[in-house]
Symmetry: C2
Subunit: 404 residues, 2 copies
């Protein structure tokens, strides 16, 4: 696996059960996967020799991020290495403009333009109105490389273009919520989809995943799964594909594709405990050309919440926070990535399972906040029962219905 | 963790989620855990310097087998190392005679004697009748170190004693079936029990675990859990304790202790998918003095079946067997240990979950056989539908009610 982050770390856990051991190409010995894998190569994903070393003797080469130059992967392929997803497919997860063009005609897509100068942005806005979403066509993630423009900003556009950032602009889609659907596809074309989930974002970053997506009508859920399976087939994806969707009006026709990822994805962490086959096991099964596993949920409601690095100075060591969390919620499962804390950095996640969405969600969110930091900058503390009751009332409010 | 076997391998998987990495003391770089762990020490568990190196900087030292001399562990303890289970507790899992003496008075125990010569065996038989079970008091496992004597055998006794094997003899208990109950206990005394399971043996080795134990009345189940919790408390166990029980008459009063193990145990592999907290995570939580996790089952019926090394020449590579298994049973979970195959050697296990015991059990057993070998010496093949129907009828016969 190219990359030594938390996705590689959790893939290694899954590989062990399959009788395999994951070799990772990590940037540093302190990377999450490098800390726990037996076979660690240190190197850069844009170094052909490092990729060749990684591939030597391996069954297949796959990825925990998109930052691998396609031309190097094509060279590996030409040398007989099984690369999954194949570089021609992976390109659609690396370049948003290529993705938009490929999906035209069969998937709901916002209006978009390639941006060669500021006039292209203004031209799009003349058709769709402001705001407009400006995006780096390559290299963005977790809200980075995305700018919401309320009006013309020729200075920003010029500055980004001058720094070599390939740009595109999209209509800002008005939506009810964000959904995600994951599918796996094997080299011989077998495919399987997990239940559609709702992803909850804060500051452009996924913070919660609700599985299955609450109040999603069966026809829309089926349409989302069929769309993801079709994209996987048309793009000839091997391994995992996550399709991030905007749910604009709550109907099957109102689904708009936001992003694609071709690897295990944050929106699928819930599957470790919440589905019969986890996304990590499934990715390996697909990449190794094994038949795919069952994707049924193991509980009526599963909620995953990300543990983010503390926004304020942390007064309690992580080990003590784990202690308190385990004492309070004996059934919540934690996954810590071995990463140093930085504000808003994903350093772990928690998963709660149960029957009642409000109850399970409150538990997961509280557990994640608990683990994220003991005392918040605003003085709120999860150790204060009154504060807890205020922040997590029995019936949680669903978040605002409309968002630009 | 002292030992690099499959128990350490699966403990490492659990450690990763907790943000930890397991350092193992393995005998060989090809050991199951050494193949997948980042931090592997090669050495022997009876080498004090190797144990000291292992302990340096670690939070705690624990074990995947009992073969560690107690005096070395006491030295580590005196040097300030947190050893769990503590050597005074572990002794009861290392020496069956010490265990029998400690449990007298509060746990059902067969009649037993220490064997200094063959007359001791015959003396026991004069009270209990033949057969009598002769056991190595130390060092036996998986049916090794156990001999069922139908009558006097002074030659065998003399030979074993001459070779330095410490011996004891026990009444051969007539029983309906074997049960096991696992509990975890933390250094500060918190304890938790999983549901009681039935273990199915073949040739003295566990081949299946049925969770929960079928048709076990609630009072007997509660009595078994209370017995295990009491043993853990009386012996001051830290970490996991597995209590293997003979169910002699199906009542709470008919439970007889067979063996103890103080580590993750084959009877608890089902907990990886089948319980909210796996035995591996729980063992680490106890050893690290974290609060313990919930032990509820995740399905009404869970069956674990061991994958044993092929008894006959194997005609199909394991990779291909996995392929066929996944194609047939997309929901069965496999765990392969990375071990070379030898006849009857435990090289992996499978777990199936569901609602109906007969159906789940047939699936697990078939999957394990499938993975064990493609074609059996007697010509039976899991690929033959008629043969499958014969071996696994819809309603499986429970095994014979009485066994010596």
């Amino acid at each position: 696996m190219v990359g030594g982050g938390q996705l590689a770390r959790m893939s290694h856990q899954a590989a062990i059960a399959l009788g395999q051991s994951l070799r990772v190409l990590a940037a540093s010995p302190g990377d999450p996967a490098a800390l726990v894998c037996a076979d660690v190569h240190l190197g850069n994903p844009d170094d052909l020799d490092a990729l060749r070393d990684l591939a030597r003797g391996a069954e297949a080469v796959t990825f925990d991020h998109e930052g691998v130059p396609g031309e190097l992967l094509r060279t590996l392929q030409a040398e007989g290495v099984a690369v999954h997803p194949r570089p021609d497919a992976l390109l659609h997860a690396q370049d948003k403009l290529v993705m938009r063009r490929a999906l035209e005609g069969f998937a709901g897509t916002p209006e978009y333009v390639e941006v060669a100068d500021a006039a292209d942005v203004d031209g799009l806005a003349a058709r769709t109105g402001w705001p407009v979403v400006l995006k780096a066509a390559r290299g963005g993630y977790d809200g980075r490389g995305v700018w919401l423009l309320d009006g013309p900003d020729p200075g920003l556009v010029a500055q980004l273009l001058a720094s070599g950032t390939p740009l595109m602009a999209e209509q800002a889609v008005t939506m009810r919520r964000e959904l995600a659907v994951q599918v796996a596809r094997s080299p011989d074309g077998q495919a399987a989809a997990w239940p559609v989930v709702e992803t909850v974002q804060r500051d452009g970053q996924c913070v919660e995943v609700l599985a299955p997506a609450p109040d999603l009508d069966p026809a829309t859920a089926a349409a989302a799964q069929e769309l993801a399976l079709r994209i996987a087939s048309v793009l000839d994806v091997t391994g995992l594909l996550a399709v991030e969707l905007f749910d604009t009006d709550g109907t099957a026709g109102g689904l708009v594709v936001n992003e694609l990822a071709m690897r295990p994805h944050n929106s699928g962490h819930w599957t470790i405990e919440g589905a019969r086959t986890s996304q990590f096991e499934q990715h390996l099964r697909a990449v190794l050309d094994y038949p795919l596993g069952a994707t049924e949920s193991t509980a009526p409601v599963v909620v995953m919440a990300n543990v983010l690095g503390a926004a304020s100075p942390v007064v309690m060591p992580v080990d003590e926070r784990v202690h308190h969390l385990f004492a309070r919620f004996p059934d919540v499962k934690i996954h810590l990535y071995g990463k140093a804390e930085r504000p808003a950095r994903k350093v772990g996640h928690v998963t709660a399972l149960g029957d009642d969405l409000d109850e399970v969600r409150a538990r997961a969110v509280l557990a994640a906040e608990w683990l994220s930091t003991a005392v918040w900058a605003d003085g709120w503390s999860p150790y204060d029962a009154d504060a807890r009751a205020t922040r997590f009332p029995r019936t949680m409010q669903r978040r605002a219905v409309s968002r630009a």
